[in-house]
């Protein structure tokens, strides 16, 4: 099959397929006499694996490891579990960063609609730096969302 069909069957843009080939996550396909790429069922499988893994948010580096694992079924699967766990930790970190940002933004909106910096107590550790106040000389939301180290 041609690249367009592979793209259709896996819901992948043609450019993305070429990119995966460039970075070596998809093997270089056989070419027709006129130099066009042709693919087989094993490419559909491999690309589907990549796309499905992407939908779980795995990075391309992680997917490369997962793919090479899937190529050796006799191997111990601990690495797959390690990769998934570290990905889970990354998601947890993102969620907590977003919650931090949410608190800061909410605090800012509250300070605008009549609330005051005292609300900071409720909002907790993330807000231990100055809550933005809409008064002259206030430090602004930038201070609230930049300073807390939610890295």
């Amino acid at each position: 099959m041609m690249i367009g069909e592979l793209g259709n069957r896996t819901g992948t843009k043609v450019n993305t397929i070429r990119y995966y080939e460039d970075i070596g996550i998809l093997p270089p396909p056989v070419r027709t006499d006129s130099g066009r790429r042709t693919y087989a069922e094993c490419d559909v499988k491999r690309l589907s694996f990549i796309r499905h893994s992407r939908s779980f948010g795995f990075s391309l580096a992680e997917i490369r490891s997962l793919l090479s694992l899937s190529d050796s079924p006799e191997q111990d699967c601990t690495l797959a579990s390690t990769i998934a766990k570290s990905h889970l930790e990354r998601i947890d970190m993102k969620i907590s960063q977003l919650e931090g940002l949410r608190h800061s933004l909410l605090a800012f909106a509250i300070s605008c609609s009549g609330g005051r910096a005292e609300n900071c107590e409720i909002i907790g550790a993330l807000c231990e730096v100055s809550l933005p106040q809409r008064t002259p000389g206030s430090t602004g939301i930038g201070a609230a969302i930049i300073r807390p180290d939610f890295s």
């Binding site: 559909v44 694992l69 111990d76 699967c77 579990s81 960063q97 933004l105 602004g140």
Partner: protein, 130 residues
């Protein structure tokens, strides 16, 4: 500090720093007498925030709005409420999506029996059923 030092301190590419400036996320820096960009502590504090927010999937436009909220203290309450509530909705959506993803991933990890790859539920789930 010069752009190279700022880039190094914040693990950002020099080109990215220039782009943030071009896009209005970073205020234009002072210039040295020889016209090099000369960044201050304000830039050093703001850049990590931009990096993290980008990593969380915020668009440059969304970030610019958030930072403008911070920089212009004299905006009307209505404008602030509007911007804040839009971004709160976006943040909530992102948290929801990540929470769903998290529970799927957690289920995946829980299914792992620590045997061989051939029996691995993680690999099996990721592999297409063809």
């Amino acid at each position: 500090m010069k752009i190279g030092a700022l880039a190094k301190a914040t693990k950002t590419k020099v080109e990215t720093v220039r782009n943030y400036e071009k896009f209005g996320l970073l205020p234009p820096p002072a210039r040295t007498t020889s016209n090099y960009r000369d960044y201050g502590s304000d830039h050093l504090a703001r850049l990590p925030f931009i990096r993290r927010a980008r990593n969380l999937g915020f668009t440059l436009k969304a970030l610019r709005e958030l930072l403008e909220l911070s920089d212009n203290q004299d905006q009307s309450c209505e404008a602030v409420d509007d911007i804040a509530s839009r971004h709160l909705a976006e943040i909530d959506q992102k948290i929801d999506d990540l929470t769903t993803l998290r529970s799927e991933l957690d289920r995946l990890i829980g299914a792992c029996q620590h045997g061989t790859v051939g029996e691995c539920k993680i690999i099996e789930t990721l592999a297409p059923r063809i």
